[in-house]
Amino acid sequence: MASTSKDVPAVVIQDNPPDDLEPGACHDSILNPTDSFEEFASEMSSSLQERNISLATKSSTISEIQSEIGENSAPMKPTKSSDDLQTKDESISASTSNSNLTEQNGDDTDTEKDDYLQSPELVNKEKHVFILSSAGKPIYSRYGNEDKLAGLCGVIQALVSVVEEQNQDILRSISTNDCKAVFLVKGPLILVAVSKSDESETQLVLQLTYAFNQIVSVLTLTQLNRIFEQRRNYDLRRLLSGAERLIDHLLIFMEKDPAFLLGAVRCLPLPEKARENITNAIQTTCNKIRDLVFAIMLAGNQLITLVRMKKYTLHPSDIHLLFNLVRSSESFKTAESWTPICLPKFDSTGFLHGHVSYISEDCQACLLLLTVQRDAFFPLSQAKHTIADKLRRSNCLVAINDALNRNEELPTTNPLKHIGIPEIRHFMYKCKSTAQLFTSDPISLDKLQDYRLRHKEGGDIMEKKVEKLSDIDYVRNYRKFCSSIHCTSTPAKLIFRSNSCDTILAWVTNGFELYVTFDPLMEKDQAIKAVDRLLKWIKKEEQRIFIMHAPTF
């Protein structure tokens, strides 16, 4: 049974561990603080008009930077978005007809045309994602061949537009017994998730938003809008070919990694000194390169360090897209790459230019140097080599490898052993002000690979009970706690649920979010004591597990 904070004795809300800042918090953050559900809250509450307005592209951060640097004298004008296209269409008079839309005709021709929808490629999947243009042309389908799904896309487009045109309203979701279809109309695109998982509608909307942002990251919002402004019948697959892979990976990534659930970034746990050295190496090498906006080092979907131009921070969702880009692109491993990258939260109107490369053959850390200067490859390539040399000399590569290989000697490799509370099976902690996340059993690189392979052939609903839960399974369990804690109508501060399988405690304060899984039938006060010790441990180790500084060039 779930019980909310009211039943819990006041003892719970103890003083935060000493230092009056919650574990992981620091005064300056490299990341924009997030509230896990901000994205869908804004998505869900918007009306048709608001939605059109909100997509109008804002002024460009990139051109702001450029003009500050003094490179391009004329600042970019805010670009017109295609949204007036939508308003133009709105002038249709509502009709009273009972608009029965979809397939009728029960004769045999229908069963034939539906055959593909029943094929093994499509049936029994846990979650489908379809992306189409507002004209109803297929752009992406997670499974199957989107060409053959053109008919389905027609139906989706018709459903969306009937609600929009006849009722001046937005179609958000359709629920059946065991299945949810969630719709997101964003600019010239329609995104749909059809899911049999236990994810909430808001969580699905978030995933669709990410998929949209992934497309923006490849094209920029300006470009995307302009294309459809000019040609509404455009087949966007032509511009996105090669990028489907990014969406494929992103969808899997979002199902596995709690970072998405909480809108936070996972950091690679490192000794304080090592992280400092890495940051210094980047700072000292790059502080003369004036167009450099961000230098980001990451490994295994975890952030190692981020050095930034003063005034600018990154949103976790942009970092997730970078993680995804790096993880989905094998080619970065073999060569230094120069690639345009749009970070939708940072500036959806234009590209940053990224020098992307792995530090060395014996270290799987990847360095991204993002600039507004489009022909800076050679200076950045030079910088990268200097940084790599410095890191090697200061033994930082070893430190990174130790962390990645989960060296047993590090306290952060197996935190539960070090904390010494046997009843705790798993925990996940997010520091809100820095948007950083730590879990007791971070998904290792190998495991992510496994899941990727498994998912590639599968994605099917699985009945099989797993013997030993992994990080991913625990996180799955936290989903519904996460959505009830963030439920906008009746938000809870604390949820405690105990049953014969396990005991779960979810707790959100102004400073952090914490989810803990205990042994079954754990008593409340016992759990609270354990949580208290857990927070103390996190506080003690915060310098390792979080990035506590916000260095600039």
Binding site: S60, I62, S63, Q66, N72, A74, M76, K77, T79, K80, K88, D89, I92, S93, S95, S97, S99, N100, L101, T102, E103, Q104, N105, T109, E112, K113, A135, G136, K137, P138, D147, K148, A150, G151, L152, C153, G154, A158, V160, S161, V162, E164, E165, T220, T222, Q223, R226, I227, Q230, R231, R232, N233, R237, R238, L239, P340, G350, F351, V372, R374
Partner: protein, 208 residues
Amino acid sequence: MSSRKKALLKVIILGDSGVGKTSLMNQFVNKKFSNQYKATIGADFLTKEVIVDDRIVTMQIWDTAGQERFQSLGVAFYRGADCCVLVFDVTAPNTFKSLESWRDEFLIQASPRDPDNFPFVILGNKIDLDNRAVSAKRAQQWCQSKNDIPYFETSAKEAVNVELAFQTIARNALAQETEAELYNEFPDQIKLNANDNGRNRDGDNCAC
């Protein structure tokens, strides 16, 4: 420009109720015909792959309801169409007269970029029946007066000209696409200097 690229065409079929829109589509997609009349409600969606000049083209066919009470679905359906097929019944002169308003309606609702050259195709259906009332000549004249819209006389029942008509539809729609592309190469990369911003799509912005 590679010809191997996949293409997807959105094709709208319009015309008065009972002229045989659904039958034509069924004949084309499923090679089947039924004498039984069942009104389409709202719209039906079918897809068919065809090969045009070695290129695989998926036709996404939107078979709309001819009955007036469904007309309000218009805008949504017409938006972003690549080709519009107007169908009339050669035995029913009033269905021929309606073509004009179907065409106008489509152009208003879909507001294509270049209405004068938007690919239409006219099909005079049911030529297998004896009681013909609209002559081929009359139909052709009308088509010529509308910027030479291609005209086909078809029988969904006996599969006369159906294949040919849809081939032409696909070909004409594709021609539009490639034509437009010549003027409108999208650059892979936006340049962030101000003069590349907005309006200019003269194709000069890919000079690297």
